[in-house]
Amino acid sequence: MARQVSQQEIDTFVRRRGLFTRRQVLGGAAVVGAMALGGALDRLVLAQQVSEDTTRVQGGPASDVSKGRSQFEQPKRTVTTAYAGIPQISGTDQSQLVGVITPSDLHFERHHAGIPDIDPRRYKLLVHGLVERPMVFTLDDLKHFPQESFPHFVECSGDSSGHYRGLLETATIVDTNPLYSNSEWVGVPLEILFREVGAKKEARWFLAESYDGAAMTRSVPMSKGYDDGMLTYGQNGEAVRPEQGYPVRLLLPGWEGNINVKWLRRIEVSDRPFMTREETSKYTDPLPREGKARQFTFEWDAKSVITQPSGGMTVRGKGFVEVRGLAWSGRGKIARVEVSTDGGKTWGLASLAEPVLSKTSTRFRYPWFWEGQEAIILSRCTDETGYIQPTRNQLLLVRGESNYHYNGIQAWKIQPSGTVVQTYHEPPLQAALPTHLAGLWPLTPDCGLV
């Protein structure tokens, strides 16, 4: 990566460290003026704010709350779907992020009735049903219990669902993996709460209900609560963000996003599931070929995606490219991530950033020398149960064009120009289908399969 330093750069460096001549200052002002006239107003503004040599001036003052990110860093969520005019989804752009923790203000959002504004002093959690002691807990009560903390991913059940039908070449990671984020969560183990209220022996499921406008509900097996379920009030070192469920969110590590009920207000313990809307008509996987619907899919199967380079980015040129990405599994730790830079013909092992923890983002990195030719890059992960991330065709062959829980291998194509586009590395599925079914798969020209 290193290169020789030019004489001009040395001159510039010397000039910056020394005194400007009057001619140099005037010349500089003329250049800035020309840029402004040319329309580069943004750059002019920045130029005024940024010191030419930060080692020769005092910087900004300390403050009680950070003014935010560097003015040069503007990562953003992408707001997408609105319901009745109110946006209810915003996606995380993982191509802008590094490491494994998603900054809390960039964690994706999916709401069913907007973000409720809850006064923590008035917050109460009701726990009742098949328990010895129906009880009410305040936020202070919950914070007083023994505490637990873990980094865990939350991924919406519908993340990547566009791949069932097929996505366009123009798709970026905000189109392919918008609804995946990873945080450190802090709270009370659910099993402590269950013991506190005396959950009865016949208890098998509990209902989790939200304070939001949909009073959203999901049924959860008690076993998950006893295993590793948590009531969380902390996220990445501070209170859970309002859009993530402030003040208390149910967190069921590794399970589909929707069941991690935000703004939790009630838990009802029962001997059977409640069959709420979100576990029957939604968040079930339609299997159109058989005319069936899969219910109670909780765990995310192992999944990975290359975040850099990814769709919409430009590889800066022939030479060294570090392929970077994220891998995760709802069933435990990531054991292995393989990367292919030739469309799946050959694979190499990526390095995994330590520590590799259960049900959380694992960052992988893979060194590559790009020769400047067209290349299709893929990642494929294996989790500690031995489960291998499937290809898209493998999923489609079994499920058909389903709706949720998509975890297929994601492919990016690097064009000779360096621009990266979304692609599918396998042949169109028609070829793979049994003959009597091939005609029943009406491929559309825009779906990316053809």
């Binding site: 007083h144 402590i192 506190e196 339609p286 899919t297 520590p355």
Partner: protein, 220 residues
């Protein structure tokens, strides 16, 4: 950069270690017993008034007893056998008026959806699938994809209408549900929906739903 990553790694390792350590405070179960705590039957050593007597509030003595009124106010869920259905009733004709006034602006006058585009299609009795075809052939609606009529009541009561969730009376919810079931050809136009009749409604696609058979390798 390496230094920062190493620090983060240490921090995360610390988190992992802490999490695997003891959950109980002094006097409560020790780390060596922590595995036992995972079992539902395991009982902690009680502190406070008495393990069985009145006033016992668990090992930590936190929280307070819920009042019957609190529970009654919040316990609005309805189960497939009808548990939780409130008094009240409604007919498809009554529901038609309410739907036109409070629902049709999003869901269309016939429940066909699409106003705005993201609103749900509520009425369509044709199957959303075609056996052998891997691509769905139509929208999934109350008529062809909702396995329990009680869920419609539960959901409408808690979450609809979108701009005023929870504002319908129980009679209004019964009526809207009756209209939706009638439009989907599941009940007759004179059928009255109440706690008894709604619990008996058999949805045509009840058997569509199968529990997820995983984990097992589904595609080999």
């Amino acid at each position: 950069m390496k230094g920062v990553e190493a620090l983060l790694a240490l921090a995360l390792a610390g988190i992992a270690l802490l999490a695997t350590a003891c959950r109980g405070p002094a006097g409560l179960p020790s780390p060596t017993q922590s595995n036992l705590l995972l079992a539902p039957q395991a009982q902690p050593t009680p502190v406070g008034p008495s393990a069985t007597g009145p006033g016992y509030r668990g090992a930590y003595g936190l929280g307070r007893d819920a009042t019957p009124e609190e529970i009654a106010t919040w316990d609005i869920d309805v189960m497939p056998d009808g548990t939780g259905l409130p008094p009240g009733s409604g007919t498809p004709a009554q529901g038609a008026t309410i739907f036109a006034a409070k629902c049709a602006s999003c869901h269309g006058d016939k429940g066909q959806g699409g106003l705005p585009a993201t609103s749900e299609v509520l009425v369509d009795t044709r199957p959303w699938f075609e056996r052998g075809n891997p691509r769905p052939v139509g929208p999934r609606t109350i008529g062809n994809y909702w396995p329990f009529a009680t869920t419609v009541f539960d959901y409408v009561r808690r979450a609809m209408p979108f701009d005023k969730p929870g504002s319908l009376t129980n009679d209004e919810v019964y009526a809207v549900v009756a209209w939706l079931l009638n439009q989907n050809k599941i009940i007759g136009e004179k059928d009255v929906m109440n706690a008894q009749t709604l619990a008996k409604v058999q949805m045509p696609v009840r058997d569509l739903f199968v529990p997820d058979p995983r984990p097992w390798p589904e595609y080999q």
